[in-house]
């Protein structure tokens, strides 16, 4: 064919798929957002209080804990996927929950994946409140609880930026959702796994369409992030 370039054709078809709100595209996008948003919310619920506890309480090995968390930021997603697969499979301790190959399992796995990141970033966000500010809070007559509340309120934008980063990592990763979710059509297929599968099947237009959506989500996160950080 004269205009048979599969990349250009793929692009044109991709735009069509998005504009016409192709059911498959919509379904995958919604599932992806649902899984990663829920995982981020759960992770935030667990990680923010834990991060605050680490920051506000002096204990032995605090430095080691923070270093470990920072190391875990770079944990390969396939390793987390493998570990969670083993945990959730029939031979694992949580096999009875029957979460393997379900969106619930993917949510739990992504939650585990980004908890260290959110905890670490919460500690950094709170540490960003400098000594002079802490002295000022004390000098103004804040009680212990009032001090904690003021510091958290002051670090709110940095904490929010951490949560957004966590969401960005969750929605963009492919390792855990592939292993734990299994990329089952209509059940556990999300943006990243769908792109991987369709590309290997030479189904470029769908891949490109989903890629554009994933990029748009990532871009949206980044724009929000920079708006938050400007505060």
């Amino acid at each position: 064919m004269v205009n048979g370039n599969p990349i250009i054709e793929g692009f044109i078809e991709a735009i069509e798929l998005i504009v016409t709100l192709d059911p498959q595209v919509v379904e995958i996008t919604i599932r992806s957002l649902y899984v990663s948003l829920t995982a981020t919310a759960l992770a935030a619920l667990i990680a923010l209080p834990l991060g605050a506890l680490i920051y506000f309480y002096e204990f032995r090995g605090k430095h080691a804990v923070v270093s470990t968390l920072q190391t875990l930021y770079a944990l390969p997603t396939v390793i987390v996927g493998l570990l969670m697969f083993l945990m959730l499979s029939n031979i694992g301790p949580f096999g009875f929950l029957r979460l393997l190959y379900t969106p619930g399992g993917m949510i739990v796995t992504q939650t585990v994946l980004i908890i260290p990141l959110l905890m670490g970033l919460t500690v950094s966000a709170l540490s960003g409140i400098d000594r002079d500010k802490r002295y000022t809070i004390t000098a103004l007559g804040a009680s212990r609880l009032q001090t904690v509340m003021t510091i958290i309120a002051e670090a709110r934008f940095a904490v929010m930026a951490g949560v957004l980063l966590g969401f960005g990592r969750a929605i963009a990763e492919v390792g855990t959702v592939m292993i734990v979710g299994g990329n089952i059509r209509g059940a556990t297929r999300v943006l990243t796994t769908a792109i991987a599968l369709n590309t290997s099947m030479a189904n470029y237009s769908l891949s490109i369409a989903l890629g554009i959506i994933l990029l748009a989500v990532a871009l949206g996160v980044n724009i929000t992030l920079s708006l938050v950080q400007r505060r």
Binding site: D132, K133, Y135, T136, I137, T138, A139, L140, G141, A142, S143, Q146, T150, A153, E154, F157, R231
Partner: protein, 361 residues
């Protein structure tokens, strides 16, 4: 009434001794200027007195309460004091919410918070920024927000840690005026650290000089400037001439000190036989000819060896057996027509020659 009484305060950070043997006693209604070079421990001392952090040793009583044994009352006592820091600190919230912080910590009713915050911002001239984000203001405006935030809590003792170190003259004047007025009208006790000697002199009833983690001298600023107790203090308060000498005799009420073959009269009783003469440059007068009448006890010829403009003054180095540095106004230097190598007459009152024991003797 003594409002703060500190005895032998010690503070360590890690192994580093930041404060040692600090003794200070502050009367209610006083303004104390804490002066000293950077790193001498002024900020640390203020934080300890404001109960922001504990000392490692010593006795401290505030409002007559022994705070070392009464740790449970610290929050309560802290709420009767206030502190303004060197670097303007504002929180990422509106100016209104910033100023309201201390009152809200004290659980003041909303209508009272509202009234006090508005009055305080009016007083520092920031009413138009009441809804602005505090972090958007300039440094000087932020410091005024910080001052209002402290003042709305009506502290009985106000600590100021180099509050105007980074500010423009306008903001500095506003802050100084407010502090002076509050002290006069409400009898607020003020402890202010500064490395600006003139500010210490302008505001403080009494000055305490801090050097190397301890208070080296306390007294009215005039006394600190003219009669520093030792060489370090003399250097810090800007004395240009510190000359070694030996006490040779007494002449009436005056002490005769010999320095490099020259006899200089001092009104200070001899503190030791080996002394150092502390002479402020502005106390040395220069004349073109031998003055016909001169009330100064010391009068001798000298040669100009150096001229250095330090506007609005000129620092003139003269040699007269010993080397002296005189401070004259730029206009006077012009009238004298000073030139290097020129012969001049130097006059110096015995009262302007302060004697301190020479170190190591």
């Amino acid at each position: 009434m003594t409002i703060i009484e500190a005895r032998n305060i010690t503070k360590l950070y890690g192994g580093l001794e930041v404060l040692h043997d600090v003794n200070i006693s502050v009367q209610e209604g006083e303004i104390i200027g804490l002066i000293g070079p950077s790193g001498s421990g002024k900020s640390t001392l203020l934080r300890i007195l404001d109960l922001i952090e504990p000392a490692n040793g010593g006795e401290l009583s505030i409002f007559g309460i022994d705070v070392v044994s009464e740790r449970g009352r610290w929050l309560d006592l802290r709420r009767r004091m206030g502190m303004l820091f060197q670097r303007p600190v504002v929180f990422n919230a509106s100016v209104y919410d910033n100023v309201a912080m201390g009152l809200r910590y004290r659980r003041a009713p909303n209508d009272k918070v509202d009234r006090k915050v508005k009055d305080a911002l009016e007083a520092v001239g920031l009413s138009r920024y009441i809804q602005s984000r505090a972090t958007d203001l300039s440094g000087g405006e932020q410091q005024r927000v910080a001052l209002s935030r402290v003042l709305v809590t009506d502290p009985a003792i106000l600590f100021l840690d180099e509050p105007t170190a980074n500010l423009d003259p306008g903001s500095t004047a506003t802050i100084e005026a407010i502090v002076a007025e509050l002290n006069r009208e409400t009898g607020m006790t003020v402890l202010m650290s500064t490395h600006d000697l003139l500010q210490g002199q302008r505001l403080a009833h009494r000055v305490a000089v801090m050097i190397d983690g301890t208070i080296a001298q306390t007294g009215p600023s005039r006394e600190i400037f003219r009669e520093p107790k030792n060489r370090r203090i003399a250097r810090f308060v800007g004395v240009q001439n510190i000359l070694p000498g030996r006490v040779v005799s007494r002449r009436g009420d005056l002490t005769v000190v010999e320095a490099q073959g020259k006899e200089i009269l001092s009104a200070t009783p001899p503190p030791a036989s080996e002394v150092e003469m502390v002479i402020r440059g502005e106390d040395i007068s220069l004349h073109r000819r031998k003055p016909g009448y001169e009330e100064a006890e010391n009068l001798f010829p000298a040669t100009v060896t150096g001229i250095e403009p330090t506007a609005p003054f000129v620092s003139v180095m003269v040699h007269c057996g010993c080397d002296l540095s005189a401070l004259v106004t730029a206009r006077r230097a012009e009238t004298l027509g000073l030139d290097i190598g020129m012969e001049v007459w130097v006059s110096l009152q015995a009262k302007a020659v302060h004697l301190i024991p020479r170190k190591g003797s």
